[in-house]
Structure formats: C-alpha cells, structure tokens
Amino acid sequence: MSGTYLGMPAFPEAAHDAVRNTTLRANLRHATHTIRDKRARAVAELDDWARLREAGKQIKDHTLRHLEHYLVQLEESVTAAGGTVHWAADADEANRIVTRLVLATGEREVVKVKSMATQEIGLNEALEAEGVRAYETDLAELIVQLGDDRPSHILVPAIHRNRGEIRDIFREEMGSWGRPAPEGLTDTPAELAEAARLHLREKFLRAKVGVSGANFMVAETGTLVVVESEGNGRMCLTLPETLISVVGIEKIVPTWQDLEVFLQTLPRSSTAERMNPYTSTWTGTTESDGPRTFHLVLLDNGRTDTLADEVGRQALRCIRCSACLNVCPVYERAGGHAYGSVYPGPIGAILSPQLRGTQSEIDASLPYASSLCGACYEVCPVAIDIPEVLVHLRERVVEGGPVTRRGTKVTLKPARGHAAERAAMRAARWAFTHPAALAAGQRLAARTRRFHPRTVPGPGRAWTDTRDLPQVPAESFRDWWQRTDGGKEAGK
C-alpha cells in the first residue's frame, strides 16, 4: 500500500480524540443507525437471503481457489473485447502505469469515479506529482477532496461531516478547483447537491480521460461492473475518450450469471436499497458508444500475500458493501479515520494488516480494534468470519510466525509491545498444566484478596483505565466443590 497513512499512531491513540469529539460521535451514530435499520428491512424482503449469502461466499471462494485460471481468462476476454490489460504487482507500479497512460493522451486532468483501489494506492497524489490533476466526482469524495480531508467510511466517505461543515468547505474551496459555489449557498442538502452538480458538470463535459475502479469483473465475458447512485460514474465511464480502470485481482467472478447473486446482495447490504440508482456494465469498447480506448490495470498490492494465508484469505471475498462498519460498536465511536487506512471498520481491521503487513504500529494494533461481538459476521453478505480472522491476526502479532510478504515466505518476530501478554499467557499455560500449583495459587489469591489493587500496574494499566477488575472470590471453585462435595452438603 502507499504511504498515505503511514506514520499514523496506533488505533487506540488515533481513536482517543475521536471518541471525545461529540459532533463526530453524533454524526456517526445517526448515520450508522439509520443505514443499519434500513438495511435490516431491505434484507428481510428476500426470504432466500441466507442462500444468496452462501452462494456469494461459494462463488468468491471458488474464484480465489482458481484465481490463476480466472485471471488469465479475464485477460483474454477483455483483450478480445478491445481492451488492454496491464498487471501491477504493487501500488508504485500501478501508479506508474496509470500516469504513463494519462500522459500519453496529452491530457493533464482526469475525472474519477469513486474507487477504493485508487485510494489504496494513492493515485491522485502520484498523478499530481506528474502534473496531472485528478477530480473526484462522487459527492462525498468531492467533499473530502475539497476539504483536504480523508474518507472515513467505505460507502459514505464524508459521513463525519455535517451539512454546515460541507457548506463552508464548498464556499471556501470550490473556486480554486473550478466553478465556485453559488452566491448565498445555504446548508440544505438540495442546494449543496446542486452546487456540486454545477461545479462538476463543466469537468465532465470537457474530460478526455476517466479513471474508475470496478465492483465486479466477469472472467467469462470480460465485462466490468460499476454500481453507483449519482450518475457521476456513468459520466466518467461514458463521456471520456479514454477509460482507465484500476481493479484488485480479487474482484473477479467467473460467469455472467454470478452477477445475479451480487446485484441482489450488494445494494441491499450497502445502501439498504432494493437496487442502487445506476449500474453500468461494459465489455471492452463499443463502436461509437463510450470510450474508444479502454485500459484495465489488475492490481495485486498485497492481495496474493493475503491469499497465501488460509485463515485470512476470506477477507478477499469482501464486496465493499460497508455493512460491517454500520453495525460495529467500535467503528460507531471511533470513526473511520482512527483505522489509518482506506478500509475502515471491521473489514479494514482484517484487510489492512494483511495487505500491508503488521510491521507498523497502526497495522499491529488494528486486529485489536474490535470487541469481537460478531455483529460484522452476521451482516456480511459473503459471510466473512471477521472475528475469526481478527483472532488469527492477533495471534500472529503476538506470537509471530510464517507469513508471505510480497510473494516471499518470511517469519515474523513476535511483536515487542506484547511481551507482558506473552509472559502472562505462558504463566497461565504452566499453571493450568500444573493443577497443584494452580490450586495453591488460587488459595493464596483468595486469602490476600483485601490487598489486591483495583487497577493493574504497568502495561495492563490502559486496560483497567476504562474497566474494573473482577474481584477475586473468597473461595476458589475447586475448594468450594471439595468442601461441599459438589454442593450436596449444606452450607454452600
């Protein structure tokens, strides 16, 4: 991944300020609860939801198991349909390819459809460095871009901003990017959307190059699919002469028919609608309709490393619906920025440390950014067992072990910050395998209970800052059992 978010503090520090920001917390709470409730209703409309979810899981798992086959098939069918396929092993290579393609057109600006992949690789910054201006055209992405901000949600990236903040950003910043905001702009959503429409339309109508991601790629036909609501996607996919799509290699589905599963589960899981307002599909180029030149950049950037982890690879099933964010009690309070990655929330907590590795402080802390309540697994339309992967990654952070980095097997050292935890676990293991010592220890603990502190000193302090330690009981369970013969005798 790009360095966009490197140097971020670990999750607990990053979340520290967010949980104390009452405006942010209110914005987030309102937003996540609204979508969450709507989604439950949209899902309840389909009485085969569980079967659709299982089929989605199976399709994705099958594709991952045969990824080489489907990648090659996709390349053939896209090429046969008039497109050109490029392969990018990492973010830098993808950025180089896209920059070269844009510069070759002679253009110095591109219009962009919202795309997690291009954000992941920091494409806008890379283009900027070569003198190419990239305009984000999704309303929320526009708010983020004009505000020199970062997205905080997969689906509604400006979820952390309220209408007053958005009006101020539009008034202050639109002018320096193109058409200024209308005089006397108020903070009603309709007026703000109209300002965005006017501001962006001049860019759409003159744009010669469009850049997009894709929600799905069909190996059998070479078809790419983008789902959206505003029409900015349609603008970027059809008006420019050149279209460049940057897509992660995990976005493949084998057949056209497979879309029948995901076009039912994705809209209902993400925006809680029966169907999103616009879905565009295109297969290479079409004579006299849409771009004359189409480039597909297939992006690895840590995905094959993730594939190498048998437990963790299920994260690659993700279809980026963001349902897991909206039900997560940790996301609801901490907000998306604390995750230090373009993928926030529960899915970000398992995806980012796998794509980037767990060497950095933020990535090592992400598997802990969860209460393991399991709500994310319940809502996931492709049944990713996020809690399972979180626990797996925690173990990797603490214990170290073999992982694949950039295609090569390496052995991770145990994380340093976890020495106390490891020591405690070792001690516990020893005690549990030595019953006599355990019994003696419990008795000792019971007798000295009056002197026990209510907080843990040293590395455990952070934990007890916000929680109470359980009190040691006056008598251990074993002692009670022995004394009362399993509760049969009186005086229990």
Binding site: A31, I35, L46, D48, R51, L52, A55, Q58, H62, R65, L67, E68, H69, L71, V72, A81, W87, A89, E93, D138, L139, A140, I143, V156, A158, P189, A193, R197, L200, F204, L205, T223, S229, E230, G231, N232, R234, T238, P254, W256, Q257, E260, L263, R274, M275, P277, Y278, S280, T281, W282, T283, T286, D289, G290, L298, D300, L307, A308, T404, G407
Partner: protein, 215 residues
C-alpha cells in the same frame, strides 16, 4: 520477469501449487436461491414494477398503445423543452403528436451540445419488477449511453408485459453482456449529506416511466 508472471507466480505459490482448471463450474456452486421472489400473475408483476418504480421516485404512467403519442406530447408539454433528444430507432409514431423539434445524437455532437437539450425519450431492453429497475442496452430505440445521462428529463417507455421480468436473475438471462448496459432505478440520487436523500446530482433529475400495453 513481467509483472504478469510475478503475480501469477505468487497466486500459484499462495495456493500451494498450480490449481488445475475448475472442473464443471456449473455444479460447484449451490444455487438453491430463488429465481424470483413470490408467485405473481403477469398483472401483479407489472403492478409491482409500477409500485417499486414509484417508491424510487420515478413518475409512473400507464396507457394503451393508441394513447402513447398523446401521453408523450402531454409529458413534454408540461416541461416545455425547446427540443427533445430521440435515439435513431425510436418508433416514429411515439413522437407523432409531440411539438418540440427532435434532436438526434450524432457522432460529432459534443457532450456540451447535448447538455443544451432538456428531455430525452427512449425505449428499454427490460424492466425488473422486484427492484423497480429499467435496463437500457444501447439498442436503436435507446441510443448511446450518453443521451439518457446528460438531459435532465428522461421519458422511458416500457412495453408491458413483454419487457417486464420479475427479478434480477430473470433480467440477466435476457441481457447480452457484450452490449454496454445501464440499469436505472429511479432518478439520480445521493445520500452523502447526513444521509438525506437528494434527487438529481448528475443524471436526469426526473425519470418518467410509461408502461404501455397492447399493440
């Protein structure tokens, strides 16, 4: 080594050796989910389409084939556009009563020229009742993708019941992936500002769907 080889090599190693071609994909996936939801008569399916279109704030009209030209005339008169965009293969009788001059989408017309046209009238490829979706596939009565995108007012004619299917799976069976497809469910909309839904950011702000029956 090319990046293609690098990535494919990594995939192979990640999966522990070369995986053979997937044998009979058709049997690999449990597709016991429903082809359509609930049993409905043809009329009920059309009714559901009308309901779901309206639920997404499309304006729905119903008429017989004979009344279609007058209805289109009326819908255009209400907006009073100076000109109306029509695809090359639109049945000429649809527009036989309409007043505004017709504009055609030519290869040389720039998006800026199309931006000056207020309304567009098209047919469709298929309509999906369960989701309230119309699908355009670029056939001659629908035209290029851009003509239903730039004007602010889109009138789309759906032939019922021939062009109506119940569900997403039924729609995909009918569609040709080689064509560029546009699936439309209501007018352009955004919920990016405090999740308040606002219609019409970039696509047409008004979508009128005419369900026309009979010949």
């Amino acid at each position: 080594m090319s990046s293609r080889d690098v990535i494919l090599g990594r995939v192979r190693r990640a999966l522990g050796g070369p995986a053979g071609p997937p044998s009979s994909y058709g049997d690999a996936i449990d597709r016991s989910y429903l082809r359509e939801h609930g049993g409905r008569s043809v009329e009920e399916t059309v009714e559901l389409l009308a309901e779901n279109l309206a639920d997404y704030r499309a304006v729905v009209h119903r008429c017989g084939a004979a009344e279609l030209p007058l209805l289109i005339m009326r819908l255009l008169a209400e907006r009073g556009p100076e000109s109306v965009l029509v695809p090359p293969g639109l049945p000429p009788e649809w527009m036989s009563a309409a007043d505004p001059p017709r504009v055609h989408d030519r290869a040389v017309s720039t998006p800026a020229e199309l931006d000056r046209v207020e309304s567009v009238v098209t047919g469709c490829a298929v309509a999906i009742a369960e989701t309230g979706t119309i699908v355009l596939d670029g056939s001659p009565d629908q035209g290029r993708r851009r003509i239903t995108l730039i004007p602010d007012h889109h009138i789309c004619v759906v032939r019922v019941p021939d062009q109506v299917v119940s569900s997403v799976p039924r729609a995909l069976e009918r569609l040709d992936p080689a064509r560029p497809l546009t699936w439309i469910s209501g007018p352009s909309a955004t919920s990016d500002i405090e999740l308040d839904r606002v219609e019409g950011v970039h696509g047409p702000r008004t979508l009128e769907v005419v369900l026309v029956s009979g010949e």
